[in-house]
């Protein structure tokens, strides 16, 4: 009755696919997320409220909605999707790259929020001190603002990675549920629960998901400790 713990190759594929998409998603939004979070925290510019709203929209919409919008825009028949395909030969709909785009869109607001909070907590007087010491705006940003926001940046990256691992609605709407291409862990678990005799594989994938989440949390905790030490907030 109790299923074997040995995952099948098909289940391992779903695991690696999830990891691959999660890492790509995290890498893709790292820099834009830091820049957007900082912009929203520190800079006043026209249309700020609109940018703020658009960035946060995926957080409050049902995930199917952004997924469907992606399909309309980036699908083979969509205005951007057709251009991408005809000019560069890039297809996003129903490919793992498309899954990266879908989860990046969903994870982006989490990243931005974490960074924005962290930047808000950086004492402006430190940045001012750096400026009077001769550092230009970009150097101040790179040597003071970003290093001091690292705890928040790290939190944002972990949240983004976790969000990508859990992404379901936008992914299934935009890139479908193609085994070996877009069937990530959550999609695989859902698929197994829909077929007779799928309980065993589904349970194994659930265990894998839990272990993966714990590992991510553990790694981020190690990273957070390093960062705190670097920032001098914790005794070495």
């Amino acid at each position: 009755m109790w299923p074997s713990l040995q995952p099948t190759p098909e289940e391992l594929t779903a695991l690696w696919l999830s990891l691959k998409i999660g890492l790509w998603c995290t890498a893709l939004i790292a820099v834009p997320g830091i820049v957007t979070g900082w912009l929203l925290a520190r800079i006043r510019f026209p249309g700020k409220a609109l940018v703020d709203g658009l960035v946060h929209l995926p957080l409050v919409l049902p995930p199917v909605v952004p997924g469907y919008l992606l399909l309309l825009l980036l699908g083979r028949q969509g205005p951007i999707g057709r251009w991408l395909y005809e000019t560069w030969g890039i297809a996003l709909a129903f490919t793992w790259q498309g899954a990266v785009v879908a989860s990046a869109l969903m994870a982006f607001p989490l990243m931005v929020r974490a960074v924005r909070l962290a930047v808000t907590l950086v004492e402006p007087r430190l940045e001012e001190a750096a400026r009077t010491l001769g550092a230009g705006p970009l150097r101040v940003w790179l040597t003071v603002t970003v290093p001091l926001s690292l705890p928040g940046i790290l939190t944002g990256l972990v949240l983004a990675f976790a969000r990508s691992l859990g992404e379901f609605g936008a992914t299934v709407t935009f890139v479908g549920n193609v085994a070996g291409e877009t069937r990530t862990l959550p999609l695989a678990i859902y698929t197994y629960t829909q077929i007779p005799g799928g309980d065993g594989p589904a349970l194994r994938l659930v265990v894998i998901s839990i272990l993966l989440a714990l590992a991510a949390l553990w790694i981020s905790e190690l990273g957070a400790r390093r960062v705190e030490r670097m920032l001098g907030n914790r005794r070495t």
């Binding site: 001190a129 010491l133 001769g134 040597t143 670097m230």
Partner: protein, 358 residues
């Protein structure tokens, strides 16, 4: 050296004033909240004035009409705040070198060794800022700014966050910066002693306006500064020389011109020049010297002015220097005091207080 004339609005606060500093070291004195910090931020480029200009050594840092506004990092104006924040993610050593490393070597005026020795912070180099005491932190902040080789050093209440003991420890370092590095400085404080410890040249600010500037004694005696001087107990200020201490009687004797005054016992070595201050309300006037009285100081002088201000009279008595005495209208009538009369100014020894040393 520094020459500015500017207007700056921040909410309901307006800063407006002209300032020309010729002295290498000048003070900027005024009560808390009068706009001293805002003025320094404008000089450093952190706050933009709406109108006017700021020139440093003949180079425009800001000029509203010519649309010149050098960014802070290109002004080379050092700013040390009260409770200056050090970079928490860098060691003391890297804090010190932050500005130094950004500077082309031809523009570096001091070496790290020189600054570290001067401020006595060699033992702190490998520590993190959070492991420093308030006084150590302020010395590192000062060193960090010095190593950026500023053309002008702005010190914004650098001692305000420290307790009295620490202040006495840091002030000598500031004097060494003044004497050994010869860096132009503008020292801002609401404590006149600190300024006088470094320089007798100062500007006075109140409610966003620069009321006057020049040598301390000249500035503080200007009529339009009287109100501020009164609120601070600085209506009468004398520059005196300590002549001797008498611990037995609890008196220190000081000299000015050919007079001697008896003051509370001080720790200043004989021969030291210092400033002493007395409130106008603590001066009594008498027609004749009075025997059998506890008041230690009776100095003859001539009444040169009687001004009625509200319910009281401000009498100006020339005793070699002008002394202001605040007395009631009734007292004037009872004595029949007139301009030109000879009077004795009576000062209690304990009513004087020491301001600082030159």
């Amino acid at each position: 050296m520094l020459d500015l004339d500017l207007e700056l609005h921040q909410g309901s606060f307006t800063l407006q004033g002209r300032l020309t500093l010729e002295q290498p070291v000048s003070g900027l004195f005024g009560p808390s909240g009068c706009g001293k910090s805002t003025l320094l931020r404008a000089i450093a480029g952190l706050t933009r004035p709406q109108a006017g200009y700021i020139n440093l050594d003949g180079i425009p840092l800001f000029d509203a009409r010519k649309r010149i506004d050098l960014p802070p990092h290109r002004r080379r104006v050092g700013l040390v705040f009260q409770d200056s924040p050090l970079f928490p993610h860098l060691s003391v050593r890297h804090n010190l070198l932050y500005g130094f490393k950004l500077l082309p070597s031809a523009q570096r005026q001091f070496t790290p060794t020189q600054v570290v020795d001067l401020l006595d912070i060699g033992h702190l180099l490998h520590r993190r800022p959070r492991h420093l005491s308030g006084g150590e932190r302020q010395r590192v902040a000062l060193g960090r700014t010095l190593l950026a080789s500023p053309r002008l050093l702005l010190l914004d209440e650098p001692l305000a966050a420290l307790d009295e003991g620490l202040k006495q420890q840091i002030l000598p370092f500031l004097r060494r910066v003044r004497d050994e590095l010869r860096l132009p400085m503008l020292y801002v404080s609401h404590a006149i002693n600190e300024i006088l410890y470094l320089t007798p040249h100062l500007a006075v600010m109140e409610q966003g306006r620069i009321l006057g500037q020049g040598p301390f004694l000249e500035v503080i005696r200007q009529d339009h500064i009287l109100g501020l001087a009164r609120s601070l107990g600085l209506e009468n200020v004398l520059q005196v020389t300590v002549s001797r201490h008498e611990p037995d009687t609890g008196c220190t004797t000081v000299r000015y011109d050919h007079h001697e005054l008896h003051l509370p016992l001080s720790a200043l070595p004989p021969g030291t020049e210092t400033w002493i201050a007395l409130r106008a309300a603590d001066v009594a006037l008498a027609r004749h010297p009075i025997a059998d009285i506890t008041i230690q100081n009776q100095v003859p002088g001539r009444v040169v002015g009687l001004r009625r201000i509200a319910d009281r009279v401000l009498a100006e008595v020339d005793v070699g220097v002008p002394i202001l005495a605040e007395i009631t209208v009734k007292a004037i009538h009872d004595l029949g005091l007139m301009e030109g009369d000879t009077v004795y100014c009576l000062f209690k020894a304990r009513a004087w207080h020491y301001l600082g040393t030159a």
